[in-house]
Amino acid sequence: MRAAALGLLVLCAALSSAQAQRLSGFDFMSPATQALQKDDAQNPGFLWLKDGQQRFDSSCQRCHTAASLRGVAARYPAMDSLLGKPVTLSARINLCQTRHVKGKPLAPESEALLGLETYVAHQSRGQPVQPPVDPRLAPFVQQGRKLYDHRIGQLDFSCAQCHDQQAGRRLAGSTIPQAHPTGYPLYRLEWQGVGSLQRRLRHCMSGVRAQPYAFASDELTALELYLMQRAAGMPIETPAVRP
């Protein structure tokens, strides 16, 4: 009984310290790279944002204003009632495309989709991540958590092993961040371009020699849902810069 109580106390302490010490990927970067993100005139992500703004002005503005988008990215992924499952922000943009604009869905990682997603998410910059309080999401959050904890690939790693247990320590010259996706879509120096969270997750999976889940798959959506819950309260940074 005492051992159980002590175990619970340790777990609470660990959880609360993990909560208290949540750090953005920004905090793990060198000052030079941080400077790239802090200066809007220098941040290459704004080139993609400018494209997204032009597309928004020519199409989305029929129904939405930029002001109306404030806070939207902070509460995605969210439930889509028609589909009966959660959708990411980029999936939502494509649902608008097909249902309302009556156009073709935009291809994953296309300039068009990345630009729009960057522009929309940027309207929430500085706002805290605020996962929707929706009981329908619960089973999907659980699925996301399971995927996060599950060991995959030839290297047999789970997300949790690196990003929960080893965050802050070094892997081949870089510091392992805590994996809070608060800045997506973001400009990655490695990519020399802007990319989505799904692109990053798929590369992490390739990195441990696992078959990556497909773009817009239920698994990637569930993972993103769990990761955003885990990042609740942290400020949106879109468009972020990362190494």
Binding site: M29, G173, S174, L189, E190
Partner: protein, 143 residues
């Protein structure tokens, strides 16, 4: 063609070809082309570059000539010792330049020495060298 030969050819083709890196000599040749043979002295020009770079893809760099009027500076230039090519950029200042200071972002293929040059209006050329250590991102994805 039998399978084994195909496999060997495939293996040979998959060996990554790396471009020859520049050498200190080729950098000196490139610098000579810039200076037109004028003597280069240390001083005056300031090269702002982090000595430790976490990703050689995109390295912020600033070249300036503090304490001198912009009108006294004709051109600024950057060179590297060990990138595939030594030239990085040449900046020409004009009559309306307000300050002898240019910022940009460069690529560094490996740990090496970077050289900044300032060619003054009187023809003199000045130099600063900075040694940079470059570490790469952990998961080099290539995609």
């Amino acid at each position: 063609m039998n399978e084994r030969r195909l496999l060997l050819i495939g293996a040979a083709a998959s060996v990554v070809w790396r471009p020859a890196l520049a050498t200190p000599e080729s950098m000196l040749t490139a610098i000579n082309t810039f200076t037109g043979g004028a003597a280069v002295r240390d001083g005056r020009v300031k090269l702002d570059l982090s000595p430790l770079v976490e990703n050689g893809n995109t390295v912020p760099v600033t070249v300036s000539v503090p304490g001198f009027d912009a009108a006294q500076v004709r051109r600024l230039a950057l060179f590297t010792e060990r990138n595939p090519q030594p030239e990085v950029a040449v900046f020409t200042l004009g009559p309306l330049t307000g300050r002898a200071q240019v910022a940009t972002r460069m690529r560094l293929a490996t740990s090496q020495t970077v050289v900044a040059l300032a060619q003054m209006a009187d023809g003199s050329v000045w130099r600063q060298r900075v040694d940079v250590v470059v570490t790469l991102a952990a998961c080099v994805e290539g995609g």
